[in-house]
């Protein structure tokens, strides 16, 4: 099992699931942001694993991983800015208190 593509995929899947769980479970906007980063990294792991085990994908994988990292960074930037903005308004980072609009 170890050293196979499948084991990496399982690992990355677990990582993605953990990220998802974190996103669902955490109330703090920053933590949720971090969970998303975790999910993106899980994707990166998948990509790299594919690249490592499937020769035809080797070159692609690196490029994709790089792009994903870049996108993640951009996302984090925008996200942090938004968290800052709402923190100014609401004085709390806890998203379950952002419920002025519902139903």
């Amino acid at each position: 099992m170890s050293g196979s593509l499948d084991s990496y995929l399982v690992l990355s899947g677990l990582l993605f699931a953990i990220g998802t769980f974190g996103f669902l479970a955490r109330r703090n906007a920053i933590s949720m942001l971090m969970s998303i980063e975790l999910m993106l990294n899980a994707v990166n792991l998948t990509v790299v694993a594919f690249g490592a085990f499937v020769p035809a994908l080797k070159t692609h994988a690196a490029v994709i991983a790089l792009l994903v990292i870049a996108v993640a960074a951009a996302e984090a930037t925008v996200g942090l800015a938004l968290v800052m903005a709402i923190y100014r308004n609401r004085k709390t980072p806890l998203v379950d208190e952002y419920d002025s609009m519902s139903e």
């Binding site: 669902l24 479970a25 949720m32 998203v95 379950d96 952002y98 419920d99």
Partner: protein, 653 residues
């Protein structure tokens, strides 16, 4: 000659239009055009009737004229056309003559009514409608006239509309008539779908030629009879006619005694080829007729409203006519129709004169002793009463005698037996009426008493003019019995049917069965009249008759065991009105209310329910949107899982 025919109905129609549009402006003279229109119509009608009865002058045994193709639909045709034969001629005489006299009478009767112009307009419309009915050459046009006379009846009964009872009576008349009309309408449909024509002469030819199965003949005859029952106020649709007395008295005379109510008789007589081919239906006709005759006569016994007595009398006499039709005595029926038209018209107009005299009082208990104060009215009404009672040699005697004789000789002994009794009853209640009104002590309100006066000449002259035929018509056209003028006139109309019936009647034998029956009947009538005199009084000094009324004895007789029930039943009109009220007003109203409830709650409730369910679903579903990001994310995660499951399901398929 046939070109004259359309003029007969069109003249009154023109009168109606002009009076209806301009009558209000014409003020006191608003009757002029209407009366002259009818007079002109009468004149034309007399010419046409003469030609028809003479079986010549371009009419022969019947001739028609078609004006235009009224309803030229695909698969249906009805023309605007008229047809005149001897039967029509007879009715033309009755309708136009009495109509004209009633018009003249109304000049005086309605002189002070602010709605006089309206009255005359309606009367003219009625004349048009009735003449249309009589002259129409096809069933649909008859039906049109049929409905239109019903409308006029409605308008005229409700003439004094501010009075609620008048409005209600008008509506009742129209609705009850409509019940019968449904049958008529269905009959027309059946005729068209079976025969493909509505022209009456064509239909009769086809029926005589065997173009219609016996079942359909029976169905059509029965349906036509439904219409006749409604229009001629036969049991069980007789209830409207007494209430119709809410209308002005000339209306009662013209429409509800002399003309419109005869339409049913006319229809059955006109359709004699159809009825003649349906012996079973003939029995029904005879049974309904004679039952109505006795039923109405029994009610007339106890009524106190002078017009209601006459109304029930009318119903009863119409019953006679139907009995005559039912037993196949066609000519006798028409004979009675004519004679009844004249003497009942006379009686109604006379009663109008009485009512006029005593200050619009109709209750006979508040009359009495009027004979000397309004002599012309008195004498003419006496003639009418004698005529209707069947005292020879007045008109009623001959016509009634022919009916009873016809029933007896054609084997309808039960019809004869009941009719015989009714003859006695008729004589009794008529002289009860005479006694309570003209003889005995006065019960008139003393204040009114001083003002009692004979009616103006416009009212008395028609009375006199009507009294003549009421007295002499029998001798004139009905003598010798069963071979008089009328029989000669009508022979072509009925001969085929009679021949087809296969029943050969013995010739009239004065010294045989016919004479015997006449004597027996006359005897009964005499007894009944004398009984009435003894109970309700009489005062005819000219022939030395005098008896004081004995109300105590009346009371005693009516309270006698066995008779008290009959008395109460008669006074309550055998509870027909109460039954109808319960059935149609109370239960019918409840039914309608229930249906409306169903409409609102069930049907509309379902419609609104769909809306409510939708809205409620929206309100529930919107709660999913909690405002919390975690919940949203959870929802997305669940959606993701569901989607993954879906794809896996698809993948393993």
């Amino acid at each position: 000659m046939t070109y004259l025919i359309p003029l007969i109905p069109l003249l009154p129609l023109a009168g109606f239009v002009v009076t209806g549009l301009l009558g209000r402006q014409m003020g006191r003279e608003s009757h002029q055009i209407a009366v002259w229109a009818v007079a002109a119509s009468w004149a034309v009608a007399m010419v046409v009737a003469f030609a028809a009865l003479a079986h010549g002058f371009g009419i022969g045994d019947g001739a028609g004229i078609t004006l235009w193709n009224w309803i030229p639909a695909l698969g249906f045709k009805a023309e605007m056309g008229f047809y005149v034969d001897a039967l029509t001629g007879c009715l033309l005489i009755v309708v136009t003559t009495i109509g004209m006299l009633v018009h003249i009478y109304s000049i005086g009767y309605m002189a002070h009514d602010p709605g006089k112009w309206r009255f005359f307009a309606y009367l003219n419309l009625f004349m048009f409608s009735m003449l249309l009915l009589v002259l129409a050459d096809n069933f649909l046009l008859v039906f049109a006239g049929w409905e239109l006379v019903g409308l006029c009846s409605y308008l005229l009964i409700g003439f004094w509309y501010p009075r609620r009872s008048a409005a209600v009576a008008a509506k009742k008349a129209f609705l009850v008539n409509r019940i019968g009309d449904m049958g008529f309408a269905l009959a027309i449909m059946a005729i068209w779908t079976q025969l493909g024509t509505l022209n009456m002469q064509a239909v009769f030819k086809l029926v005589e030629g065997g173009g219609l199965s016996s079942t359909w003949i029976a169905v059509v005859a029965l349906l036509l009879f439904c219409g006749a029952v409604g229009k001629s106020a036969q049991f069980p649709l007789h209830v409207w006619l007494p209430d119709a007395m809410e209308g002005p008295t000339p209306v009662s005379a013209l429409i509800h005694a002399a003309t419109m109510v005869n339409a049913g008789v006319y229809l059955v007589a006109r359709c004699n080829p159809i009825f003649g081919a349906a012996p079973g239906v003939m029995v029904v006709v005879a049974a309904i007729g004679i039952f109505t005759a006795v039923l109405a006569a029994s009610i007339a016994f106890t009524q106190t409203d002078i017009k209601r007595v006459l109304a029930y009398s009318t119903i009863s006499q119409l019953g006679y006519m139907f009995a005559a039709l039912g037993v196949g005595a066609w000519t006798a029926a028409i004979f009675h129709l004519m004679s009844h038209g004249f003497f009942k018209g006379l009686l109604f107009l006379g009663s109008g004169s009485v009512i006029h005299a005593v200050g619009d009082e109709q209750d006979m208990r508040k009359m009495g002793g009027l004979a000397r104060k309004i002599p012309i009215t008195y004498v003419t009404m006496l003639i009418g009463s004698v005529a209707i009672a069947g005292v020879p040699p007045l008109a009623g005697f001959f016509s009634k005698d022919e009916i009873l004789g016809g029933a007896f000789k054609s084997g309808f002994l039960w019809v004869w037996a009941i009719g015989f009794v009714v003859a006695g009853m008729t004589a009794f209640y008529m002289f009860r009426l005479m006694g309570m009104t003209f003889w005995g002590p006065s019960h008139v309100d003393p204040e009114v008493e001083q003002h009692i006066h004979e009616s103006p000449t416009t009212m008395t002259r028609p009375l006199i003019l009507l009294a003549i035929p009421a007295a002499a018509l029998g001798l004139l056209i009905g003598f010798p019995p069963e071979s008089g003028l009328l029989h000669q006139w009508l022979a072509p109309v009925f001969e085929a049917t009679i021949a087809a019936g296969g029943r050969t009647e013995a010739a009239y034998s004065f010294f045989g069965i016919d004479g015997g029956l006449a004597i027996v009947t006359t005897g009964l009538v005499a007894i009944a009249i004398i009984a009435a005199w003894r109970l309700f009084g009489v005062d005819m000094p000219a022939i030395g008759l005098h008896a004081e009324p004995r109300p105590d004895q009346v009371r005693e007789v009516s309270a006698r065991r066995g008779l008290d029930f009959l008395y109460r039943g008669s006074a309550a009109k055998w509870w027909f009105d109460d039954l109808n009220n319960l059935l149609f007003v109370v239960w019918g109203g409840r039914l309608a209310g229930a249906v409306w409830w169903f409409d609102r709650v069930v049907i509309d409730g379902t419609v609104n329910g769909v809306g409510t369910v939708t809205t409620q679903a929206g309100l529930r579903l919107r709660r999913v949107q909690t405002g919390h990001v975690q919940n949203y994310a959870l929802g997305i995660a669940i959606g993701l899982i569901a989607m993954a499951l879906g794809y896996f399901l698809i993948a393993v398929r």
